[in-house]
Symmetry: none
Subunit: 199 residues, 4 copies
C-alpha cells in the first residue's frame, strides 16, 4: 500500500503547503519535490503524474474525512442532528487546516475538467452521506417526504461549499464554526415542510 510508505504522505503534505502558499500554477513538481525533501524523479515513483498528486491529495485528505464522517453520523439517530454534525465536521475540518482549505476551495478548482471529473469521484462518498441524511429525514418525517433528493443534496452541498469559499475569499477573518448553527437552520428549513403546506 502506497500510503504506508513515508515518502507518499511526505509528498502529499508538501503539495498541500506548496500549492496553498504559491498557488496552483506556481506549484511546479520540482518545488513540491524540494519541499518534500526528495528528488524530482522520486515523485514519479509514487505518483503517475502531476495531476495524480492532486487527485491523491484530495483522496487522502477527503477520503479519511468521509470515513470519519460516516462513522460519527451513523451513531446519531435524527436527520437534523446528523446534518448538524455534517456541517460542524465540514467547517471544523477546513477551519483547522487553512492550507487544506485554500487548496480545496480555490486551487483545486483551477484544475482542468478531466481532473475535476476525478475529483467528483472522490466527492461521491461525501455526497452519499448527504443523500443518506436526506433520505433518513424524509423517512422519519423530519423532512418533507416530497423532496427531490438530488436537489436537496445540491442545496446542502452548495450552501456549505459556498459558505466555506466566501470565508476563504474574505481571508478567513471570521470564525467559521460560529456559522454551524445558522447554516444548519437554513438547511433544515429548506428540507422541512413548506410553510404553505403547514398552514
Amino acid at each position: 500500500m502506497k500510503r504506508n510508505k513515508p515518502k507518499y504522505m511526505q509528498i502529499i503534505d508538501a503539495a498541500v503547503t506548496v500549492i496553498a502558499e504559491n498557488g496552483y500554477h506556481a506549484a511546479q513538481v520540482s518545488r513540491i519535490a524540494k519541499a518534500a525533501g526528495v528528488a524530482d524523479g522520486t515523485i514519479y515513483l509514487y505518483f503517475k503524474n502531476k495531476e495524480d498528486i492532486l487527485v491523491s491529495l484530495f483522496e487522502e485528505k477527503m477520503g479519511s474525512f468521509v470515513g470519519e464522517l460516516e462513522n460519527k453520523i451513523s451513531k446519531i439517530s435524527t436527520a437534523s442532528e446528523k446534518l448538524h454534525k455534517l456541517v460542524e465536521m465540514h467547517f471544523h475540518h477546513l477551519a483547522s487546516d487553512h492550507h487544506l482549505a485554500i487548496v480545496t476551495q480555490l486551487e483545486l478548482r483551477q484544475s482542468n475538467i478531466e481532473l475535476r471529473v476525478r475529483i467528483n469521484g472522490v466527492l461521491k462518498g461525501y455526497l452519499a452521506v448527504v443523500d443518506h441524511i436526506v433520505k433518513t429525514g424524509m423517512e422519519s418525517g423530519e423532512f418533507n417526504p416530497g423532496l427531490d433528493v438530488r436537489l436537496a443534496r445540491q442545496m446542502i452541498f452548495g450552501t456549505i461549499d459556498e459558505t466555506v469559499t466566501s470565508w476563504i475569499m474574505n481571508d478567513q477573518k471570521y470564525d467559521l464554526l460560529q456559522l454551524v448553527n445558522p447554516v444548519h437552520q437554513l438547511l433544515i428549513n429548506g428540507c422541512g415542510y413548506s410553510q404553505s403546506t403547514l398552514k
Copy 2:
C-alpha cells in the same frame, strides 16, 4: 466604447464557442482569432491578454444579464416571487446558451485567483440582487426576520450554482427549467420561519 466596435463582440462570441468546445487551456488565442475572423494581433487591440478575454466575456454576458435581472425583479412585489424569477432567469439564461453555461460553470473557474477576484467583482451585482430580495422578504414578513443576510445569500447562490454545475457535469441531460419550482421551494423554505418557531 469598446463594446460598440463590432470586432469586440465578435471576439467575445468566438471565445465562448472555442473555450466551451476545447477547454480554456486548449483555446489558443490563434484559434479564437480564427473563429472570430480576425488576425491574432487584432485580439490585442481589444484585450490586454488572454485572461482579459475571459473576464471581459464574463463581464459582457453576466453584466447584461444582471441588468435585465434587476429590471424584471424590481417590477415584482413579493420576495418569493422575486426569488422565483431569479431562479427562473438564471436557469433560463444558462440553459439557452449551452456554450456559455460550460464556460461560466467550468472553464471560468480554472482561472487563477487574481482573475477570480475580478470575476467576483462582476458577481457583486448579482449578489446585490439576491441580498435585496432577502431583505425585502425579511421586511415583508415572508422570510424569517432573524436571517443572516450573508448566509441566506450564500445558500441561495450556492444552491443555484451547484444545481447548474451538476446539470453541466451530467451533460445537460435533463431539463434545467423543470428544476425552477423545486429549487425555489427549497430556498423559500430555507429563508422562511423555522418549523420549530412555528409550532
Copy 3:
C-alpha cells in the same frame, strides 16, 4: 526635397527624443509618431522603414555638423589648430544636445550591422575631415611625416569617441568641454615626432 517639409524634421526630432528617453528597443514607430504628432502611417510617407528614420536622423544631425566643421576648419591654417577646433566642435555639438549625445553614443550602436554600415557611410565625411587635417600636418611638418594616415585617423576618432562615450556612461557628470585641451594635447603628441626621433 524631403527635409524642407515640416513633418520630416518633426519626425526626426521626435525620434531623437523618444530614443534617448526610452532606449532603442522601446522606441516603437508608433511612439515616435505620437511624439511627432502624426499618424503611424505618415511616418512611411517620409521614411522607407524604421531603420531609415535612424539613418536619416544621423545624416541630418551629423551631416549638417560635418558641413559646419569643414567650413570652420578650412579657415584655420595650422593642423594643430584645425585639430583643436575639431575636438572642440565635436564636444560642443554633443554637450549641447544631451538627447543627441545619448542616441549617437549608445542607442544608435544597438542597430544591426547592416545599418551600422550605412551609418559608417555618413561618418565618411567626418573621417575625411580628420584625414585632411592629418595630411595637412604631415605636409607642414607639424606632424610626423611617417604617420600612417588611417591609423592616425583611428586614434583621433577612437580617442574622441571613447571620451564622449565615457562621459555619457558617467551620466555627463563633468564638463566635457574642459577636456578639449588635454585631449587635443594627447592627439597632437600622438601625431607628432616620436621622442626618440627628436633626440
Copy 4:
C-alpha cells in the same frame, strides 16, 4: 562552478560561432542549442536567458584574456614595453579568433544599455591594466607626468578598439598584427612629453 561543466563551455562556443555567422538577432536560442548539441531547455540550466549567454560569453573569453594580460605585463618592466605587449596581445587575441572578434566588436554592441553596463563591468579589469601601465610610465618618467590618467586610458582603449573595429568592418582584409608597432608608436607619443615642452 558552472564553467567546469562541459556543457557550459560547449554552449558558449556554439554561441560565438552562431552569433558571428548569423548576427545576434538571427541567432535563435534553438540554433545555438543545436550547434552545441544540447536541447533548447538545457541552455536555461546554464544561462538565465539569451542575453546572459552573451554576457557570459564575454566574461569567459575576456576574463581569461585579462588574466593572461595581467600575468604577462607584470613581468615586463618599462611602461612602453608593457603597452607594446598590451597592443600585441589584444590584436593577437582577436586576430586569432575571427568569430570572437566579430562578436566583441560588432554583435556585442547591439545589446541594450543594461547589458552594456554588465559588459563594462568585465571591461573594468582590462581598463585597470591600462591605468596601471599609464601610472607606471608617469612614475618612471617615460610618460608625461602631467597626463590625465582617465584621458590617457580613453585614448589607448579608444585607439585600439577603433583599430580593431575598422579591421573587422574592412572584412579583416589586412594583417592586424602588422599594426602593433605603429599603433604602439602613436600611443607612446600621445603619452609622452609634448613637443613644445621639449623645445
